[in-house]
Symmetry: C2
Subunit: 312 residues, 2 copies
Amino acid sequence: MKNYCFGIDVGGTTVKMGLFQTDGHLVDKWEIPTRTEEGGKAILPDIADSALAKLAEKDISKDDVAGIGIGVPGPIDADGVVPHTANLGWGYKEVTKELSELTGVTCRGGNDANVAALGELWKGAAAGHKSGVMVTLGTGVGGGIILDGQIVIGTNGAGGEIGHIHVDDDIPWTCGCGNQGCLEQVASANGTVQLAKWMQETEPKETVLDLETMTSKEIWDAVKDGDAFACEVAERFGKYLGLALANVASTVDPEVFVIGGGVSKAGPVILDYIKKYYVKYTFKACRDAEFVLATLGNDAGIYGSAKLVIEE
Amino acid sequence: MKNYCFGIDVGGTTVKMGLFQTDGHLVDKWEIPTRTEEGGKAILPDIADSALAKLAEKDISKDDVAGIGIGVPGPIDADGVVPHTANLGWGYKEVTKELSELTGVTCRGGNDANVAALGELWKGAAAGHKSGVMVTLGTGVGGGIILDGQIVIGTNGAGGEIGHIHVDDDIPWTCGCGNQGCLEQVASANGTVQLAKWMQETEPKETVLDLETMTSKEIWDAVKDGDAFACEVAERFGKYLGLALANVASTVDPEVFVIGGGVSKAGPVILDYIKKYYVKYTFKACRDAEFVLATLGNDAGIYGSAKLVIEE
């Protein structure tokens, strides 16, 4: 049994890196810049150099490293191949094969939203659960599904694309994916603001919110202050998420739902709104699923990536 | 390597039984009555007796039997325990343990809709696929999800309960499950009839259909004959199923969808209506999922149950 492993979370501007003991203890974490220029050709060598330097610094032998797990922003297949990831500059890239060759260590890869889910189920809000669904309410709405400890990758890497579940025929603008009516359009940070604006256009109401400049945080603050309009927005947000997660439950019936991302910083109040509608829409047998707020924050990705290379 | 196994499909009135070679060849199939009286206490002994008698008849040694797979109508957990199955008369029952004790052969169990899906992926319409979703449009709407060759059972045995995906807030009557707006209410055989009646109540239209006595089959026959109202019903049916399956795709991203059950006997025309809306609602990456009609009919259950005890 080897004692160490790395969890890497590649983002568009920085790469988060973690050195872990294989029991899940985080030994050290740090960041390096993501150099996306020239087709992102320096990204993997930078990661390899930084990981190997960390081993030298800590006086850890490569023989004592179980592997390197790496999360990337986009689809990646079970063989660690990325077809194309625009925001890293990559075209087709055999990520885990290259990183393994650069480091001499076994590598495994996963999509960033999926590995975040794995991280929360391993050492975060849902620790101890074998099946769970994580929804990340950030700039977009990401999702990751873990069944019996394994990520649901999907045929096209689209397993857990919960943000693109269709929730409303009437949403009048278009999602980044090209469809109309996606959960992401009304439940991400920006989506919540768009939802509030749409509701005001449909039926103007008194509110403390500045409709031009409001943020998702301000909407949730207004909910907590009892602003009637903000509370209506929260109801609609809860309805969309509750409906989408009820339909996820009728599909994979998880033990737990983990809600993370910037929007979730509003706290337990968002769970109340989601659960109210989840219970209304879900199949009877699934009504008692747990709902928890994510606890690992930006570290979920390095934890989950590390878990990719740890067999239990 | 043992050469034989049994696939058993327990229904409310008859038990379908199949003796298979472990390469998937069906050696013999037959039926016995399901004796549900006295808490269904005779059901498993009857199955055991019938299986052992078949071995004697065929002069096959028990040592050459890999196992008995059994599908039951209701939730059953990974340990083969049924909490309660009303239509068999069973309360809590350790199905596979009891059947194994009665026969001296290893047993594994699954839900009937799930094993039907496994059967279609093994030897039916989706043979060769490792991941797929089957929807059975019969009296109700059943579903089964197979990922990487394994049934998605779910925490509460509700994996693949596609019939209870919520598809419409406006459906004015209540589903058997107690919710309102379930796919089953508008896409099962009876549901299609209810849908047609509801559409006529909302907006009466000319049609060749007798609104009092019409069946699902008659609606689809009218679609093929070009009846404008029947075609509107088919559009709505396609929209509901296409929407539900698009949301399933955003969750588990399968290779293939298998459509079975009595309604599917209408033929390829129903796939056209489903796919039209699936493509509209699904996440871009999932658009090329295959749609096929089930081919094993009532034998899907015995094939899938047999597959439960065959490791490949």
